[in-house]
Amino acid sequence: MFNRMWRRYLAAVMAAVALCVSAACGSSVGASDVPVVPSDGDVTIRLDWWGGDSRVETTEKAVAAFEKLHPNIHVDMEYSDWTGYWDKLAVQSAGGNAPDVMQMDELYLAFYGSMGSLLDLNKASKYLDLDGMDSSLRSMGVVEGRQVAAPATTAQYGVIVNNAVLRELGLTLPDTDHWTWSEFADFAGQVTEKSGGRIIGSLAPNNGYALQLWARQHGDRLFDGNRIVIPPETLASFLKLPADWAVDGVEGSRERWSENSAAALNDSDFGKGRQAMMITQATMITPYAQAAGTDDMSIVPLPQIDPGSRTMYLKPGMYWSVSSQSQHPAEAAMLVDYLINDGGAGAILGTERGIPANDGIRRALAKDATGTDRKALAFIDKIRPTLGDAPSITPNGASELDKTIIRYQQDVVFGKRSAIDAAHAMIAELQESIDFAS
């Protein structure tokens, strides 16, 4: 009578009960107060991340090298896909069974940081050096005054261009160093028109990072601490972008935008070589080039409303965090230090997680890199003049930001409501969720 889902739900609740009983529910929260000193004997710590096959391969290799350097430390590795990772981490944290070292994302950092689940890395500064990175980047790992995460990589937004497609259509990219959104849309529209819709120009951006940048270009901000401070008009213009571009011909049609926004990389138009430009993170250039079967891709700066203004910022791509309940915080900190600061680890890990936060490692990689990897690593130097201050991180309760944006954009694209109504509703929904969580 109960279907699978219902059973799974029950099992999860059951697990929570069992864990609560065994951990005397409530006392499992908070720091373990284990002193941050290395132990003398053998130690096993757990490392957990989300990601695909290539990440598994490189991380296992780096960890093996770490174990060789520290023969008394053994690292147990776990990994899952994005959604499964957060489901699992929530249940593990509830049971006081979180991994010692975990990969963290900006969307979830405030939640785990404010729950007291993450170690203040300043306590482990003897074993973990965070001075190799830009201070504005480092500040994006701080929650409520504690350094609860170490940025591992940065993600810079730009426009990846498939030059092979443009050449085939006989089109030349305009001057991209100082281009505006209307120049971008005009050019993208030409691509769709000239190819008769077979190849589309681009797709409107649809996530929190893009929205943050959009707000900054308008002279606004998305969050201020726990408040959503973006003006509804600015948000409305962002939510309306996919609808406008579907009409302008940039995206082909609204269904094409909608289908692409749910597609995996290999199934997307850009991944199939049927799209000229993609607004996304610089490091995506290599996987997209592989999927589309061309190495003639380049990365150019994001269009701006006021070209050249300081609206970009260094966003951490991924972080490493240490559990506050770790029994071996010193060893966990050593592993994080190794993963972000060691030259050997940097060479093994490459740019698979993004551009290394440690600038020395980034420069070392850029020197030896070839092809699209080299372009991604060099991109930061290109946008450096437009880098501004770091914004507030996504507050606790707004972890579903990306999905929420897509949902409201779809409402506007398919005419379910006007952009300004959608903006008001989205601000109300997110603010309610943040207030509920805090």
């Binding site: 489901d87 509830a94 049609s253 094409r256 749910a262 409402d411």
Partner: protein
Amino acid sequence: MSSFTEFGALVKNRHRPKDKPTDTKVALGFLAPWLIGAFFLSLIPMLYSLAISFTKYNMIKPPRFVGLMNYRHMLADPRFLSSLQVTLTYVVVSVPLQLVAALALAVVLDRGMRGLSFYRSAFYLPSMLGGSVAVAVLWKMVFGSDGLFNAFLGFFGVDTSMSWIANPDTANWTLVALHVWQFGSPMVIFLAGLRQIPRELYEAASVDGAGKWRQFRSITLPMLSPIIFFNLVMSVINSFQTFTQAYVVSGGTGGPSDSTLFYTLYLYQQGFASLRMGYASALAWIMVLIVAALTGINFALSKFWVHYDD
């Protein structure tokens, strides 16, 4: 649930002389695996979820009692209402369509033809695959812009690159089609039921000059009504709890534009993505009440159209 009643009867009758005392113990021994499962995996979690539906609980901080807040929040939650609407539309449309398809095929197959068992298995196959992730992934491809369905339309000169999954006006209908396609298990039950109808009735009717359609309406339908009723009740309950298909086809979002946001999917999102476990539990209990009410309505209406022989 009938095992619950049997278990109750067993305990109540334990002093009856007709059962030897050892029988009860043996019976309890055989029932033990089920009892343990029902108690620890169903009953306790259910009661626990009822308890946490009155709390604010994010799985990390201990639950905090908030009274009826979660239930009140539903009234002001537009996504709760839209998920309810999506689910009810799905149930109301797909259940009758599926039962009609199952019954029609059962009647055809019941005529007795060569290779019957092959057809029976072939038609049953989708039911075994239907709830699986693989078929949902397949569905996503069939109704995508490059999909089989558009290629099929191409045969008839309809040239379209419409993505049926990506448009909120059609996305739910692809899931309805997926549900109807799994007519196999009610069909098998209908087939068994058709075999139970005495052949004399048809012979007598044809002697009286009744045509095939008249025979179907006046003999098959009334005689089969208890089976139809059983299938109806089970289908309504099952389709209300549909999760996997919507989760896979929409990539877990219930999109586009919440058009495939089934109730269970919304419940899952609230519990495991937004970490509002208290609210998710309240949603689960409201679902129990809705399913119970639908089943109650079905039973109440059944006396007007279900005929039992005895």
